[in-house]
Amino acid sequence: MSRRILAGLLILIVLGLAQAVALTVPTALLLAKLGASGLEPMARAMLFGTAPIALAAAVAAAAVPGTLVALALWRLRYWGLTAGLLLAPVLMPIALLAPGAGPANLAIQLAGHASLGLGLGACCGLLGLLSVDRGVLRAAQCCRVSKLGAVRRVLLPLMAPGISAGLLLAAVASLATSLVQQIQGTPATLMALASLPGPVWLAAAGVTVLMCALSGAALVLLRSA
């Protein structure tokens, strides 16, 4: 059992690092090509100040709403496209590209981190249930356990490894996103607390949704195959 957990953790760490590298390296290369300078000390302080909040938002979203969404998807049986859409922020962290300035920008960033956590939490939690017989809730109820008790005593233990993985992934992804922001930001953008122009952000979001729809469709096809 412990060997399985270790193997799972190893996979998660590798995945997290891979994602961090995938997010940071292209940006760093771009910055090097453009000759962008490092961060001003004040901007760095501001970014590191918000990173723990963003991390907390991502982890909290992965833990509670993520679990509930996973349960709902399992009950609804149709999870492919929804799971693909939920993973949208992983493919293209919208938080990174949040437009606007000031508190609105911060709110969008936090929402972005939370959505990242939600998607990862829900999808990882769902993984633990995919091979579970749907009759387990009924079987538990026949043992004089209420429906809520059945969820607590049967489904949650089955989801626990997935949820743990989701929390870890959300934390890693959130930190990675903050790190990218730190590297990508220039003194001008950070001091003004501004990001990409609106149309560019919308285009990026559109590409994200399209990619998610395609991945969802692929999941549905794989499931029905």
Partner: protein
Amino acid sequence: MLNSLAPAPAVATLLRVHAPALHDLSLTVNRGEILTLLGTSPGSGASTALWLLGGFVRATSGRVSLGGRLMDATPPHDRRFGMVTRTLALFPHLDVAGHARFAPGVSGAQADAILQRLDLSAFARRRPQGLPAEIRFRIALARALATSPPLLLLEDPAVALPPAAAASIKALLRSIAAETGLAVLHASDDVNASYGFSDRIGVIQSGHLRQIGTPQELYDRPDSLAVAQTMGPLNRLNGRVIDCDDDLVRVRLAGGITVEARAVDPLEPGEACVVALRPERIAVAAVQAAEMGDGAVPARLVETVFAGDQTRLRFSIDIRGDSLPDVIVTRPSGAAPLRGATVCLAWQPHHAHAFRTASA
């Protein structure tokens, strides 16, 4: 040891279900009795009755009552039924002992007793994954019986198990029912799986309970052609009633052959009917039909099929100018007439059942 498994004393468990898929189904399952709801086809309503009783299917209209008490508003966990479904729905995160102890209020001693009774003690620390199908079924059974329910709702074990394992589980269930007074309501669409297991069988067709009785009653004295066909292989011969005498009728088959049969439906002279015959009830004699007298049917053997403990013989009826379907006769394996042999078929009148053609 088994006292801890004994269900609460109850003379009878009266179930009454009325819903669109089931039409006023009333059943009484006595203590220690195994009652099978035998569906004549998929969607007949046998499993639906179980799910309704368990509280997992909500009737769009109608009601479910147990012993006169309405159960519609009672959640499944308060109905106090045990249930074992086809898929078993075992908990992957629990070991075998964990399954037996899963229900609230089940002590360690009770769990140990049920594990011992079901020969699962050796697997107590194992998880269900990878265990043989029969052991997995026993685990589901242990989980269901740990709370000593008065009634066990059981979907056919034969679906999930190889034949030998299904037979072993059924023998075990029969002994538990006899020892503890556990009532079992079993849903199946396999008549062979129901013989030897059920004390009584209720045949359900399109949501209607057609007939209920012991397996032998249903086999030998079916109330309808549908029940007769459900309970086992049947030869069907169309004819017309000549006359009636008490519960016997004389029927003229195609080709002018006259036979006698027990009238199941009220039949009038001249009325079209179907004479139904079990293959093993037909006698084969290597003589001419004329020598046997009235009721003998001339036939010719066209096929012999060896089927292990029995041989199936297919006969064509020797008549001119008309047609009758071939007749199947089963015999214990051994010497059989040679193919092409001309013989005479005959049967006791009360072994043949005459049904009105409309009821077919």
